[in-house]
């Protein structure tokens, strides 16, 4: 299996790892993700848009009280892609060929 070029970028890999740890049924509010990952708003938005476009994330708009919120969650496709990518990285480190 080849490396996933989209997840290969370190920040996107970190975002995927964060969401994968929480599971595919989890949803994280955009500002929390921003704070926890220490990214800028523009940077995070750009990475999320690319991952959403690939079907790896779902981004939903909603309200908490009267405040608009954006929720981000990992899809099953995203989880599978992340796990496969990490497996490839480990395989490379261990010096095994697929």
């Amino acid at each position: 299996m080849a490396f996933d070029k989209l997840i290969h970028q370190p920040t996107r890999l970190k975002i995927m790892a964060y969401l994968a740890r929480l599971g595919t049924d989890a949803r994280v509010e955009f500002n929390k993700l921003l704070r926890d990952l220490g990214l800028t708003e523009g940077n995070l938005s750009r990475h999320l848009a690319k991952l959403e476009e690939a079907g790896y994330l779902r981004v939903e708009k909603g309200f908490v009280g009267r405040r608009p919120r954006t929720w981000v969650g990992l899809t099953g496709k995203g989880r599978d892609a992340f796990l496969a990518h990490v497996a490839e990285l480990k395989r490379l480190l261990e010096g095994k060929t697929p």
Binding site: Y18, A20, G23, A26, V28, K32, L37
Partner: protein, 178 residues
């Protein structure tokens, strides 16, 4: 790709996962502080007062669900929903036990604390956090040992454990431990 690059990428993935684990820290540390305070006050000051215990438990659950609600404004997980269900059921059982008689006799207290330990262990399994699982097991062990070997010290030890939990919860909350 070089092995060095793969190593750095794996490190980035581990860092992302660690940040997600820490994301629930403020909620869990808040819970620990709240229930530490309930135990310290209940066993330290009002061990035999049914009314005081009922008030403390209601306050403890109200604060816990407030913290859970606040957490859900930023992070919603299946594990969180399972925890809410687990602790709601436990809270109802506990309150029914409290209504059934005056105060917490040490035998009934032991039974309740073993159930509390079980609920913490269940929470550790749901959240996949071995620290919480071990803390629940340790709490059960300390309860059983002190009750069996030093019954006169049972309430003071629980009050001390409450103070310890309160201190650790506040430390965790301010220092942001994993």
């Amino acid at each position: 790709m070089s092995r060095e690059e793969a190593k750095n990428l794996l490190y980035a993935a581990q860092e992302g996962a660690a940040l997600a684990s820490r994301a629930q820290g403020p909620f869990l540390s808040g819970l620990l502080a709240v229930w530490g305070a309930v135990y310290a006050l209940g066993y330290g000051l009002f061990p035999d007062s049914g009314g005081a215990w009922a008030l403390l438990i209601v306050a403890g659950f109200a604060l816990s669900f407030y913290l859970g609600g606040r957490e859900a404004r930023h992070l919603r997980t299946g594990a969180g929903r399972m925890l809410a269900l687990l602790w709601s059921a436990f809270g109802l059982d506990l309150f029914a036990l409290m209504l059934a008689g005056e105060g917490l006799g040490s035998g009934r207290s032991l039974a309740i604390n073993l159930l509390v330990a079980l609920a913490w262990m269940g929470s550790g399994v749901v959240l996949e956090r071995s620290g919480i699982l071990l803390a629940g097991a340790l709490f059960a062990l300390v309860n059983a040992l002190v009750f069996a070997l030093f019954p006169a010290l049972y309430f003071p030890v629980l009050a001390g454990a409450g103070l310890l939990a309160l201190s650790f919860g506040l430390f965790w909350r301010t220092r942001g431990l994993r």
